[in-house]
């Protein structure tokens, strides 16, 4: 029976969660209706009638108190039953990962106002140089257990997929390991449910569940685009990437002083989370054909027009909310960038068509 207005469930453990919800509803709602019924009945039946005095039932003897303690014992019994079912569901979802031969791996990083997803690349290991990332779009194969490593870059976020009945807070300074899976293909919404600042309500991502072949094909095309550094340098740390490699945040594990290309930096620093490359309007203005474009800009809410040139780009990265493009809200966080990274990004943005 499925009378609660849940959205359609696509995960295996979601079924268990729905069952628990319906069990609790049946138990608690019957108790609620009985209690309300008795309350209303008593109110109507024992209204003040002239000449009729109330009874003296102080309720201090066991005979009278049993009217409270018997329903109480029933409630405690039902509660324990609910708690047993709940512990079963909780240990299934949160405490242990089902034994499977092959796991899909993904590293999810929440940052202010976008989600970054990192796939293990051809070698199947996260944290190696052939990983590739995507922003605000998580692709997983259907009927496959996906093991995730949830992290947060700056403040608390919360990874919530209503369709999969799955939610887990991302905490800076921790890597939370867990799993989820999907049994139906399609596109579903991902939301952030822990308040994380002004752009909290724009922090949306899409979960795209694909059939195995489609996923494999997409995976190959993405993995191919990654430019591998000199083959000798292939590091292969064990699965948990977090503690092992130092700054695993930059897309390619850089050799000592060679700065990652502007494009990878846009990805790694999460710029593409809010600014699109193909002209579509996301949280922030798009990068398409940015150089030399005329923009209406608000500086200390004085509206004036500015042509986009190098120092405007540099200033709007270091001082994001100094001049805000009209129609957007000034919520871009200050991201710490070294001088070379800043010049790399600005040069990349300049020759973007």
């Amino acid at each position: 029976m499925n009378f609660l207005p849940f959205p359609e469930n696509i995960s295996t453990f979601g079924v268990e969660l729905d069952e628990l919800a319906h069990l609790i509803t049946i138990i608690t709602m019957t108790a609620f209706v009985i209690a309300e019924g008795i309350l209303l009945y008593f109110i109507l039946k024992f209204r003040k009638k002239p000449g009729v005095k109330a009874d003296y039932i102080p309720g201090n003897s066991w005979k009278q108190l049993k009217w409270i303690f018997i329903p109480l014992v029933v409630i405690v019994g039902l509660d324990l039953f609910i708690d047993e079912k709940n512990t079963h569901a909780w240990t299934l979802i949160k405490q242990n990962i089902p034994e499977k031969t092959h796991y899909e791996l993904v590293e999810i990083t929440g940052q202010q106002f976008s989600w970054l997803f990192r796939y293990p690349g051809r070698d199947g290991l996260l944290g190696t140089s052939d990983d590739f990332t995507s922003t605000n779009e998580l692709r997983i194969p259907v009927n496959e257990t996906v093991v995730f490593y949830l992290k947060a870059k700056d403040v608390l976020h919360s990874f919530f997929v209503p369709a999969m009945r799955f939610k887990q807070d991302a905490v800076p300074g921790r890597t939370i390991k867990g799993w989820f899976d999907a049994t139906k293909t399609g596109t579903y919404e991902i939301a952030c449910t822990e308040i994380c600042g002004a752009g909290h309500s724009l922090m949306k991502a899409n979960l795209i569940v694909q059939s195995k072949e489609e996923f494999k094909q997409w995976f190959e095309s993405e993995a191919g685009k990654v430019t591998l550094p000199a083959p000798g340098d292939k590091k292969a740390p064990e699965i948990a990437p977090s503690a092992a490699s130092g700054e695993h945040n930059t897309a390619a594990a850089k050799t000592e002083h060679q700065v990652a290309s502007g494009k990878d930096l846009l990805q790694a620093k999460g710029c593409l989370g809010c600014h699109s490359l193909d002209g579509s309007k996301l949280v922030g203005p798009s990068y398409k054909g940015l150089m030399g474009r005329k923009e209406m800009v608000l500086t200390q809410d004085k509206e004036h027009e500015v042509t986009v040139d190098e120092d405007y780009l540099r200033r709007s990265i270091t001082e994001p909310n100094a001049d805000v493009v009209k129609g957007f809200s000034g919520i871009m966080p200050k991201t710490p960038l070294s001088e070379e990274e800043l010049t790399a990004i600005v040069n990349h943005l300049k020759d973007l068509k």
């Binding site: 992290k151 947060a152 300074g173 921790r174 890597t175 977090s242 503690a243 700054e247 945040n249």
Partner: protein
């Protein structure tokens, strides 16, 4: 108001004052012992000694100087429940700080 009755009680409230000087010297002795224990090589032994003596000192101060020994049981209960709350908080937060690998997010 039980004013006059309370003062009558207050006179012979503290039968036989706890000997303050004796308590003081006991505290000094424990204090110097815990200082000496600081230089023990066996770390665990030293820590146990030091904090054990700190607890004994606290018991002395509370019982003799603050006269807890002569107070109604509810006051014992209040002080004890305060400590119980701290322990509940300690054991509640313990797993989240000590069983989690420390990483540095930047």
């Amino acid at each position: 108001m039980t004013a006059h009755q309370a003062t009558a009680h207050a006179e012979h409230d503290y039968h036989g004052h706890p000997n303050y000087f004796k308590t003081y010297f006991a505290l000094l002795l424990l204090f110097s012992l815990s200082l000496a224990a600081g230089y023990l090589d066996n770390i665990l032994m030293a820590l146990l000694l030091i904090f054990g003596m700190a607890l004994i000192k606290m018991m002395y101060v509370v019982n003799n100087f603050m006269h807890l020994r002569f107070e109604p049981l509810s006051i014992w209960f209040a002080v004890a429940f305060g400590l119980v709350c701290c322990f509940i908080f300690y054991f509640g937060v313990y797993p989240d700080i000590l069983w989690v690998p420390l990483e540095v997010a930047h």
